[in-house]
């Protein structure tokens, strides 16, 4: 791929410059369309409760789950609501899961005076062996036990369970199934090599400036200012750069100034101001050369609840003068050259990681695709806008590339589905920690990591 094309001309660096410097035109942008309208909120009203989003989620996924249940357990499987259950009868129930966790941080417990508890420090995982799974449908709830992995599942998932109700009022599960991979999209991918660079977690504004050199190297590679003619011709095939969140580092989030008196904090500037200026300069260099999509992340100056709205262009005055800069929502969905991309900045995956026994980010990413929902834990443990008409996080079509940002390592996998779906799952690593970005080849859905390290003889290119 990249390295194979670049290697033969590596000696070109030692040769004298040619009389006429060659130019490499970047591959033209063709076929971009933004499909993230469901994630763009216009007028926001927070007077509604979250019961609506759960009701719509269940109503929206129920038909698909009933179809899957019939195909898995036979056409004449009995589908019952919880209110119609009869003890001892084998039947299938469709509902939403609720996981009752002892260690789940509860604001009511923290402020309750009778407990006098110190607020619980954040733990990496909140699972315990004593957790219980409860299935809820529109009217009732029932405790689940049996052939179901309590530790692995999280609240908010809709699924179908097959089993029977026992004498003591619990439901004994024999088998369960999720919505499965959504129906496939037609493939219109390009016939020649086209690359998209995925990077996340640039982490500007952090105390240490080590990642700045790597960020500058990344920008130089993409804009073709690094390497010999081989690398430059490869870089000309990069059609787009997607920055998947956490452009600012967590250090910019410090809120010490809130507790201090106003006269002490009059002249102090928020740390994010300097960081956003740096971001603007980096984006300016990128935007002059390649279209860039900027997604907000956990530590970026936008709203906290999912879906996060795009950063405002007034923060990036130099870069937003260029039409190649696109400020987009988190989650982000777009069709690039006929290939459908869908991804988030990683808050959904890391939230599931905290409340499930799954250890691997790629495994969690695959599980969310098979469960048919981008972020089932919203709004329970992850902040979410109170939707009432439809749940935009339900997956209705299968994307070709499904990514999540700010993962601890780079991992990728090509998933094949029964109905001809081909999905490339990519966990984009945190650039400030790993100095690694990903290059996705749109022609054959392969992915390659690209690492920039300041010292050391082995830096893959």
């Amino acid at each position: 791929m990249f390295s194979e094309q670049a290697a033969p001309t590596a000696q070109g660096l030692l040769a004298p410059p040619s009389a006429e410097p060659p130019t490499f035109p970047r591959v033209p942008v063709s076929g971009y369309s933004d499909c993230s309208q469901p994630f763009q909120l216009g007028q926001r009203s927070f007077c509604r409760q979250y019961a609506h989003i759960y009701a719509v989620r269940l109503a929206g996924t129920r038909p698909g789950l009933e179809r899957r249940a019939r195909s898995r357990w036979g056409k004449d499987v009995v589908l019952r609501k919880l209110s119609e259950l009869q003890a001892g009868e084998k039947c299938c129930v469709v509902g939403t899961l609720f996981k009752d966790m002892q260690l789940q941080p509860s604001i009511l417990q923290e402020i309750s005076e009778e407990h006098n508890l110190v607020p619980q420090p954040p733990l990496p995982k909140y699972i315990q062996p004593s957790d219980e799974l409860i299935l809820e449908d529109e009217l009732q709830r029932i405790k689940l036990e049996g052939a179901i992995d309590v530790q692995r599942l999280v609240t908010g998932t809709t699924l179908a369970v097959y089993g029977c109700e026992e004498e003591d009022g619990k439901f004994l599960v024999e088998d369960h199934c999720f919505a499965g991979l959504p129906p496939p999209l037609p493939w219109n991918g390009p016939s020649s090599d086209r690359f998209v660079l995925l990077a996340s977690g640039l982490g500007l504004g952090s105390v240490s400036g080590e990642a700045l050199l790597s960020t500058q190297l990344l920008v130089d590679v993409v804009t073709g200012q690094l390497g010999a003619e081989g690398e430059q011709s490869c870089a000309a095939q990069i059609t787009r750069v997607i920055l998947a969140g956490n452009l600012l580092s967590q250090n910019t989030q410090s809120r010490d100034t809130i507790n201090k008196a106003k006269y002490l904090t009059k002249k102090t500037q928020a740390a994010s101001v300097e960081a956003v200026k740096m971001l603007d300069e980096i984006l300016l260099q990128l935007c002059t050369s390649v279209p860039v999509d900027v997604m907000p992340g956990e530590f970026d100056p936008t709203n906290y609840t999912l879906p996060q709205q795009p950063l405002h262009r007034c923060m990036l005055p130099l870069a937003s003068a260029y039409a190649t800069l696109r400020l987009v929502t988190n989650p982000y969905q777009a069709s690039l050259d006929g290939v459908r991309f869908l991804g988030t900045s990683g808050q959904n995956i890391s939230d599931i990681f905290k409340y499930s026994s799954m250890e691997n980010y790629l495994e969690i990413l695959e599980w969310t695709l098979l469960a048919g929902h981008i972020s089932p834990t919203a709004p329970d443990t992850l902040g979410c806008y109170p939707f009432y008409k439809s749940d935009p996080f339900i997956l209705t079509e299968c994307p070709h590339v499904y990514f999540c940002g700010n993962a601890p390592h780079f991992q990728s996998k090509l998933l094949q589905g029964n109905e001809g779906q081909r999905v490339l799952l990519v966990t984009v690593p945190d650039f400030s920690a790993t100095q690694t970005a990903c290059l996705v080849n749109l022609r054959d859905l392969t992915c390659q990591p690209i690492t920039f390290s300041g010292f050391g003889a082995d830096s893959e290119d």
Binding site: C47, R48, A51, H52, P63, E138, Y388, K389
Partner: protein, 120 residues
């Protein structure tokens, strides 16, 4: 030297009354014998208020609120709930929508059934 110009030459002083205040009386000192003219502030004719909806209609709407098939009823106007149920394919009854559109101005009809003395 010309007369010093005042701002009140271009913007004459007008005495403004608040919306809820009683209308002032025009005082004309020269014509004390004449009948004082009272100017009414509100003299636009009011549109006739629509007939109140009958209790049977309100009862039908209450039953629509409490039917669990169409989702939760709190925090959203009834018409929005009806349209959402329609989009999800739950086939809510048509007469409800006609009644909601007919009595659009009446807040008892458009909003869901409220607990007496609660926020719901």
């Amino acid at each position: 030297m010309e007369q010093p110009r005042r701002i009140t030459d271009s913007f004459p002083r007008r005495r403004r009354r608040g919306p809820g205040r009683p209308p002032g009386r025009l005082k004309d000192k020269k014509d004390k014998n004449k009948v004082q003219v009272k100017v009414k502030v509100r003299d636009s004719p009011r549109a006739p208020s629509p007939p109140p909806p009958d209790p049977a209609l309100l009862e039908m709407l209450r039953r629509f609120d409490l039917s669990w098939e169409y989702g939760p009823c709190t925090g959203t106007p009834r018409l929005q709930r009806w349209e959402r149920a329609q989009e999800l394919g739950l086939s809510p009854p048509g007469p409800i929508r006609d009644a909601l559109l007919e009595h659009r101005d009446n807040p008892d009809v458009t909003y869901r059934w409220v607990w007496v003395g609660g926020t719901g």
